[in-house]
């Protein structure tokens, strides 16, 4: 048992080491968000904190606008992906039909197109059909980013659920819909939660599409972030504050869903 303790301690140490690597830049980001530009380069941990950077951020109503824009576009994209992707993943997992693997691979292949390859033609198309600088325009193109990941992760989870369980529940008299909602969804929760979170992050942070396919009426925080790299000097403090505030939704989301990352224990019973 003693060696177990030592091993456990070492493992914890390893975790802490990685945690330092992962978290230090973030901690540092928080620190500089409270630093005035003047003191940015001459002080490390000891300085006189100021709320100025945050104040500037909120004084013009602009930042709130970007934040809301980003929220609308990202949440919209993820909801659309879930609504459309969950059935698609289910179909790919459950049914056997001609061209199945082809279609599955095709969904994946949408991620192959480098963004800069398609963004210019899409710009021209969007201009022609009036989707330029609109919420739906961005939500639609974001599907190319969020849908493949969702479908492929969920497909794996669906395939893990044995059909017999579904049959058993159906035999018990539940309708297909009830089975789906009450039994299947909880079982794929970790996958659904993980893939939604990931897709949300990628869509929230998207740069290329948000930059070139929108920008006046619809401006996302990622694009606007470079505002703080203004022309006379980089206001690192303001940039840090902006980054932190715009990361809040994701952080809150991550914290809220973390318990759903654990699947129900019933699974083990059937798979055994």
């Amino acid at each position: 048992m003693k060696s177990n303790k030592v091993v456990s301690l070492l493992k914890d140490l390893g975790l802490l080491l990685y945690a330092m690597f992962a978290l230090f830049p973030l901690v540092w980001l928080v620190i500089i968000s409270f630093k005035h530009d003047r003191e940015m380069f001459n002080t490390t941990f000891i300085f006189s904190p100021t709320l100025d950077n945050y104040r500037v951020l909120f004084s013009s109503g602009e930042f709130i606008g970007y934040f809301v824009d980003n929220l609308i576009v990202s949440v919209g994209a993820i909801i659309l992906s879930i609504v459309v992707g969950v059935p698609a993943a289910y179909a790919l997992a459950r049914f056997d039909f001609k061209g199945k693997e082809s279609i599955a691979f095709t969904f994946l292949s949408f991620r192959f197109a480098p963004e800069i390859l398609v963004v210019l033609p899409i710009f021209l198309i969007y201009q022609k059909i009036g989707l330029y600088d609109t919420y739906f325009g961005l939500i639609w193109i974001f599907q190319v980013v969020s849908l493949p990941l969702m479908i492929w992760i969920l497909r794996g989870y669906f395939e893990d659920i044995s059909v017999e369980m579904e049959h058993a529940a159906r035999l018990d008299g539940y309708s297909w819909w009830q089975v789906f909602i009450k039994m299947i969804i909880p079982l794929i929760k970790p996958g659904l939660v993980a893939s939604s979170l990931l897709s949300f992050i990628f869509v929230w942070n998207n740069f290329t599409f948000s930059l070139l396919l929108a920008g006046q009426k619809v401006t996302t925080t990622t694009v606007a972030m470079l505002k703080y790299v203004s022309s006379d000097t980089v206001h690192y403090g303001q940039m840090a504050a902006a980054v932190l505030i715009s990361s809040l939704p994701i952080i809150i989301l991550a914290l809220a869903i973390q318990k759903h990352l654990v699947r129900g224990l019933s699974m083990g019973a059937v798979k055994g």
Binding site: D37, R38, L211, L212, L226, S230, S231
Partner: protein, 469 residues
């Protein structure tokens, strides 16, 4: 399955081609320099185009901020509504190029640098301004186009023939403000090291800057210089010294552009510049953009800087940076006797050739480049350096820059011989970015003559692609 995959690709290709062909038709309708037919107007009137709405694309910049601040005045004076967008500089030109290429009249007016004009004008995106400036019924009588510094206005003029200097041909844009390149130094650093006067020659500069390494503790060094793999590295200090040394980037031989970057003069000055970087520049020089250079000067990490004069303007303001109040300005270093000049960067506003509201757009443009706005901008906002001579005579402005030792004197000594020193051609960004990459290689140890030979070769290949009509 394979057939299905191919089918999909073929279908998409066909649709794609059809779509491109449709867009193509809008392409060819925008041919090059055609004469502008302007309606004949009767007398000048600010309010003539009341009720019109124009779209303006602005780069994130103090000049843009000054415009945005006074939009209410403009709208009151003319009754024209202005919708604008501001994009950070990193991405501004990506967006602008895309917008101009769509040729749908949006934006009506946009901010641009002079180098970009060399691409946009031949492509037919920009409206020639001579018909507007010279029309007494379209331009207010007190506009006074000759009030602009000649070198600055020339930066926006070109006759579209690759190899012909700036200052020839049509006026494509009106300057908002500009920067020349000078030496900045920290007076405190000089005092500390017992240096009485700023260096006059390049060799003196190398000596003094090297002496100042480490002047302010850890991480401090002699002179801040830009170094990223970008045209922005070549055009400030480097190009200034390049042209002051008498080197040329291109010559016309047999009707073709030939790169002269491997000439002996070019190799000489490049070697000197590289020596300065290696001996006294920042250790991670190739990561240095405008921002790092400026902030190092202001933070007291760099004792000197060889870059845009407005560095000192911004950093010397009270409370703006650690070294505020300690900065001073001197002319760029000389390598031979003769008139010192500087390369310049000019921000201007231009008009979209496909705009449907050209007259309203012109009113916007002349308002924000008028004497009134520029004086306000130079004294109440951050529009420096102002492009009009009259602003430099203004007491308020003089007082403002008097706080920076040497600013006005240096400007006056250099402006006469300052303009854009590059040879205009549409492949400018292509050739200067490769030039920067070559400079990086030389700093990292490559032989200067060899690398510049390779560069000249590369550039000749690229300008061969030039389609001159």
């Amino acid at each position: 399955m394979l057939l299905r995959k191919f089918l999909a690709i073929i279908i998409s290709l066909v649709v794609g081609i059809v779509f491109s062909a449709c867009s193509n038709s809008t392409q060819s309708s925008g041919s090059s320099v055609e004469k502008t037919e302007l309606k004949k107007l009767d007398g000048f009137d600010w309010k003539r185009f009341k009720g019109e709405e124009i779209n303006v694309m602005l780069n994130q910049h103090p000049y843009a901020e000054a415009i945005i601040k006074r939009l209410p005045e403009f709208e009151k004076l003319t009754g024209i509504k202005v919708k604008y967008s501001v994009t950070p500089e990193e991405s501004y030109f990506d967006k602008l190029t895309t917008a101009l290429n769509a040729k749908n009249g949006n934006p009506d007016v946009f901010m641009t640098g002079s180098y970009q004009l060399w691409e946009y004008a031949p492509a037919g995106y920009i409206q020639e301004l001579d018909p507007f400036v010279n029309d007494k019924n379209r331009t207010s009588s007190d506009y006074d186009i000759n009030d602009f510094f000649e070198g600055v206005l020339n930066a926006d003029k070109w006759d579209l023939v690759p190899g012909h200097k700036v200052g020839t041909g049509n006026l494509w844009a009106i300057p908002l403000g500009f920067e020349i390149n000078v030496l900045h130094y920290n007076k405190r650093a000089f005092e500390q090291a017992g240096i009485k006067n700023p260096p006059k020659t390049f060799d003196e500069l190398i000596e003094i800057a090297t002496k100042l390494n480490g002047w302010n503790g850890e991480g401090s060094y002699g002179i801040a210089i830009r170094g990223t793999r970008s045209w922005a590295t070549i055009h400030p200090g480097y190009m200034t010294s390049f042209s002051n040394h008498g080197a040329k980037d291109f010559e016309i031989e047999n009707g073709k552009l030939v790169s002269k970057l491997n000439s002996s003069k070019s190799v000489e000055i490049t070697k000197k510049f590289v020596e300065l970087i290696k001996k006294a520049g920042p250790k991670d020089w190739s990561n240095y953009t405008w921002y790092q250079s400026s902030s190092d000067l202001g933070a007291g990490k760099a004792a000197m800087a060889y870059d845009a004069d407005i560095f000192s303007f911004f950093n010397n303001k009270e409370g703006a940076s650690k070294e505020a109040g300690n900065l001073a300005v001197a002319p760029p270093p000389a390598t031979k006797n003769g008139n010192l000049g500087s390369n310049m960067w000019v921000w201007s506003i231009a008009m979209n050739k496909s705009s449907q509201k050209k007259d309203a757009a012109w009113l916007f443009m002349q308002y924000f480049t008028s004497k009134e706005h520029m004086i306000w901008g130079a004294t109440q906002a951050n529009v420096v350096d102002p492009a009009r001579k009259s602003v430099w005579e203004d007491q308020g402005f003089k007082e403002r820059i008097s706080k920076i030792e040497g600013y006005e004197e240096t400007f006056n000594s250099v402006i006469g011989n300052s303009t854009i020193k590059f040879t205009p051609q549409p492949e400018f960004f292509n050739t200067t970015t490769e030039w920067a990459a070559a400079l990086q290689d030389i700093v990292n140890g490559a032989d200067a003559q060899e690398r510049l030979n390779q560069l000249a070769n590369d550039i000749n290949k690229r300008v061969e692609r030039l389609r001159v009509k």
